[in-house]
């Protein structure tokens, strides 16, 4: 009788061991770990200073002008209305909304004879003004951005058009209305 009890206990222990050994690492374990990691990650993101996470962001339809200074005037023909504009990192910067304006590229110098500052047009280079329309993320304090890239007056943008690439400066922004979309 005692031997039978001992035997059956040993059997049970054996089955427990084998079931424990078999348990291993399954999909549920992975899911639980990922869930915990996600919770920790979200908490960290939410409290990082300046993090855009959990911040409300609206969308706005904007039109902005990029100025390319000191460019050959014939390059204007490579930028056409409707062309898609991307940044060098691949961020969407919008679509060319109007024909390219070719402006004068002024050269400023000091004339020692008259002690005046003289401004004259560069003989072979021009400034290109490209108007771009974009549905951008809009933040009450941080202004407009597209895919994380800030669009602001004074900001330099590495732009890529289908037929032209160059570094320009945003010189004006106009908000045309609220775009489609909502919270980020």
């Amino acid at each position: 009788m005692t031997n039978e009890k001992t035997k059956s206990r040993k059997d049970r222990q054996g089955s427990t061991r084998s079931s424990g050994r078999r348990r291993g690492f399954n999909a549920l374990d992975v899911f639980l770990i990922l869930l915990i990691l996600c919770c920790v990650g979200l908490a960290v993101l939410a409290y990082l200073p300046g993090s855009g996470f959990l911040r409300k962001s609206d969308r706005a339809q904007i039109t902005y002008v990029i100025e390319f200074e000191g460019v050959r005037p014939d390059f204007a023909s490579y930028i056409r209305e409707g062309d898609r504009v991307t940044s060098s990192e691949g961020c969407d910067l919008g679509t060319v909304a109007a024909g390219v304006e070719v402006g004068v590229c002024n050269v400023v110098r000091y004339d020692p004879a008259t002690a005046d500052v003289v401004s004259s047009a560069h003989p072979s280079l021009s400034n290109l003004l490209v108007t771009v329309s974009l549905t951008a993320d809009s933040d009450p304090l941080n202004g407009y951005s597209s895919e994380g890239l800030r669009i602001a007056v004074g900001a330099e943008l590495d732009c890529m058009f289908p037929g032209f690439t160059g570094r320009g400066t945003c010189i004006s922004i106009t908000e045309n209305g609220t775009g489609t979309g909502g919270e980020r």
Partner: protein, 165 residues
Amino acid sequence: MAEARGKTGKGRGLTALDIAVIIILIAVVLSVALRLVWDRIFSADRKDCTVSFEVSAAKSAVGSLLAEGDAVMLPDGSRLGTLGAVSVTPAVFLATDASGGPVEARWPEDTLVDISGTLTAELYDRDGGFLTKGGLRICAGTVIVLHTRTADFQVTVTGVEPATE
């Protein structure tokens, strides 16, 4: 417990519960460490400061967009302070006069401008200097790109003064 585990769970390996406990322990230790570091850095008093700055040779469009009361933001999107009085003048450049000596000349109107102004910011006094909440040192000579809602501008800080109460 160790004995019990030794008897029943020998060779059982790590389970999800074990890993969860380990992660929680690591999180607790890290949060305590972070808290200590945070307290050490920011235990000093917060002070309202007046930061004076200059912007050299900015596009004239930038100068026309800066107005007193605008929120001034850091590159990470956090708020630095509020813009005070701003003065915009045609940008200065160095030229050579008839005698070959250096002379200051100004860019024509509506081209490039120099901007000088002040902003009020809540900074943290540490070792006689001032830091932003994010730990960025703001002192004379600091060069940083700041922005308002619609304009970007690179400033050189020319002075920081705690506001007098």
